[in-house]
């Protein structure tokens, strides 16, 4: 008995020490937070997360703001800002009218510009194979099933394509990248628009699902003949082979900054709800180099918020100075007209 008594007593002592230590640490944490006083929290898109990670130290240096961002996915970001558990949400897919209504007085502001790459796993076949929208749609509809299909061969004269089954890989989770990709497929293929449509997650006719960009990339790199999609920075960092995609001007373009910028000139005046779709620009000289699967991504904030002052400063900074951190992550700095629009939108935020 005395032995177990000592044991319990020492256990209690340890617990007490832990509680005191936690209290001290907590108090210390509180006091540092107090010194910087402003914390901005956000959640959403994984696509834009690497860019925001670059902004965190810069923003701390410039304004002393502490920025906390959780990359939980675009859908999660919309849900979080709707519930007001964060100061801002980030989404690659624009809010639907229903989501706008649910969010009660939110605005969405385009704040970054990038593209989705489509990559493949074909041993001994060069990088930057040619691809066009209708063929891509047929592959993802399950109508083209082999790499040596005449439709693919016709786009790639002189390339010997293997007689290998095409394995489609897509996201299993809801994703802004999926939105961008299906937005493009719907715009190039009436059949896709009719059968599948646009969304952050859709009813895929064929293929295997991977969880997150990393899951898609892992499945594609482990499966000869596989084809998948993810944000362009992801494909580059992981040395995946990706397509040069034919735009409506007839050029095969890669998801490089200047080609994304060319696509962004398609529309620089956002719709009334702040959204801007720039997939598949029409045939024209100024879009000759446009990469057709480019996308804006959005920050979503309530018009009326207690942190109005800080959010205004932060988002204004993000759409101007913040853009300079983009290019090395393949985020094209916003066109001036979009920055102007954004500044007007930001001015409407109030406390």
């Amino acid at each position: 008995m005395p032995k177990s008594g000592t044991f319990i007593r020492s256990l209690a002592a340890v617990a007490l020490v832990a509680v005191v230590a936690a209290a001290v640490v907590g108090a210390a944490g509180a006091s540092t937070a107090k010194r910087n006083s402003v914390t901005i929290t956000g959640a959403g898109s994984t696509f834009v997360a690497p860019l925001i990670a670059q902004w965190v130290p810069a923003l701390a240096k410039a304004y002393g703001y502490e920025l906390h961002y959780s990359p939980i996915g675009s859908g999660g970001g919309i849900a979080s800002i709707t519930a007001r558990t964060v100061d801002f949400g980030a989404s690659d897919a624009p809010l639907s009218p229903d989501q706008f209504a649910a969010c009660k007085g939110c605005i969405q502001i385009p704040w970054a510009l990038s593209a989705t790459s489509v990559f493949y796993n074909l041993d001994g076949v060069k990088n930057l194979l040619h691809m066009d929208g209708p063929t891509l749609a047929k592959i993802f509809l399950g109508q083209i099933t082999s790499w040596n299909d005449p439709a693919i061969a016709k786009l790639n004269p002189g390339v010997s394509l293997p007689n290998l089954r095409i394995t489609v890989v897509h996201r299993s989770d809801g994703s802004g990248t999926t939105y961008n990709f299906t937005d493009y497929l719907s715009s190039v293929s009436p059949a896709w628009k009719k059968r599948v449509g646009v969304g952050t997650s859709v009813n895929w006719p064929v293929g295997s699902a991977g969880r997150g960009s990393s899951g898609v990339a892992a499945l594609v790199s482990e499966t000869p003949g596989a084809i998948g999609y993810a944000d362009v920075a992801y494909a580059l960092q992981n040395h995946l082979k990706y397509f040069a995609i034919k735009n409506r001007s007839g050029k095969f373009t890669v998801p490089a900054l200047r080609n994304i910028l060319a696509a962004a000139t398609l529309d620089t005046k956002p719709a009334a709800d702040g959204s801007l779709s720039i997939v598949n620009p029409p045939k024209a000289k100024k879009y000759a180099q446009a990469y057709p699967i480019s996308t804006y991504t959005y920050v979503i904030v309530p018009l009326q918020t207690p942190k109005a002052r800080e959010l205004k400063i932060f988002i204004s900074w993000a759409v101007t100075h913040g853009q300079s951190y983009g290019p090395k992550l393949i985020f094209q700095p916003l066109p001036l007209a979009v920055v102007r629009y954004d500044e007007k939108a930001i001015a409407k935020i109030h406390s």
Partner: protein, 329 residues
């Protein structure tokens, strides 16, 4: 002096008595609160799930359970659980079928056959298998197991047993129901094996020695004494494993490949109730989609409850026909 007198005597002692009563009160309070909190938590979870599922169930009615559909595209939304129910049933049952003989083998080896020197290390290793986080097993499933199965095992099974619809055309990607089954087998194997080992250790030595003294072989002793003695417990261990397989989400999401259809080819993709919830909940965008995912959770809850009740019934029945060696799930 009887024991009752002893207690009153102790209780009457002025200081220790008060302390003892205080201690009892604290114990009662803390333990009672813990038990109540658990009950309240179960109640709250159930209520929240039913509440969240309401929108979907009122939109789709009971047809939700039998419909094969999952389309979250705005304006075309339609949801149904049938293919996920099927996926859950086929993956967990197949994993159990694979795991059961393996686990029995491991447990028998460790209790009856292995030299004493290696029992400890092997037991520890088997139990380490249970400690590997499921997300790590899932990752290994994508990068190592999937490609191996796709390149070697699946084609071999297809060419030798292809006449059975289960072993259809091998999957082009390493992600398939079969990969999920193997991953689940690995995950439930250590639980079933270590519980069975404990059960076999609990078989009275006299019974085993008696059987051997009667001139039985080791196999006859195992079949005639060890297995029947532990039968109820083994059933319970298997059901525990089944429960784990039914509920596992992350690892399955990583390797199962997805797809909303019912088919008998193990080498094709699919989804389970848990994997669908894990994959889509965070990114769900419409109220109806969220509600439908919660409905899947409700079905999963009911499914698990039924399996659990079934397990208790089996254990009780086995316990009635045979004496000891049972554990409750």
């Amino acid at each position: 002096m009887s024991s009752a007198d002893l207690t009153t005597d102790v209780a009457r002692r002025p200081f220790t008595g008060r302390r003892a009563r205080l201690g009892d009160l604290v114990l009662e309070g803390v333990a009672g609160a813990a038990a109540l909190a658990a009950c309240a938590l179960v109640g709250l979870i159930a209520w929240k799930i039913v509440d969240g599922a309401r929108l979907s169930l009122s939109t789709f009615g009971p047809g939700f359970v039998t419909r094969i559909a999952w389309n979250p595209v705005a304006g075309r939304e339609v949801y149904g659980a049938a293919s996920f129910l099927f996926g859950t049933a086929i993956t967990s049952l197949a994993a159990l079928l694979l795991a059961a003989p393996l686990a029995m083998g491991i447990a028998l080896f460790l209790t009856e056959l292995a030299p004493r020197a290696i029992r400890g290390p092997v037991t520890a290793l088997v139990e380490t298998l249970a400690a590997i986080p499921s997300v790590v097993i899932g990752l290994w499933g994508i990068l190592v197991l999937g490609p191996q199965l796709r390149l070697h095992i699946e084609p071999w099974l297809h060419s030798t047993l292809g006449f059975i619809p289960l072993f259809g055309t091998p999957s082009p990607a390493g992600a398939s129901i079969f990969t999920a089954v193997v991953v689940l087998t690995i995950m439930i194997l250590p639980i079933v094996a270590s519980i069975s080992r404990e059960l076999f250790l609990g078989v009275p030595q006299e019974l085993k020695e008696g059987a051997l003294a009667l001139g039985t072989t080791r196999w006859e002793m195992v079949r005639g004494v060890v297995l029947p003695y532990a039968r109820g417990g083994i059933a319970a261990a298997l059901i525990l494993g089944l429960g784990r397989a039914i509920g596992e989400a992350i690892a399955v999401t990583q390797v199962i490949g997805g797809g909303v259809f019912i088919h008998w080819n193990l080498f094709d993709g699919g989804d389970t109730l848990a994997s669908k919830i894990a994959a889509e909940y965070q990114g769900a965008t419409s109220k109806l989609q969220i509600s439908s995912l919660i409905s899947l959770a409700l079905i999963l809850l009911v499914f698990s409850l039924v399996v659990n009740l079934l397990a208790q019934w089996i254990v009780r029945r086995a316990a009635r026909s045979h004496g000891g060696g049972t554990v409750r799930p």
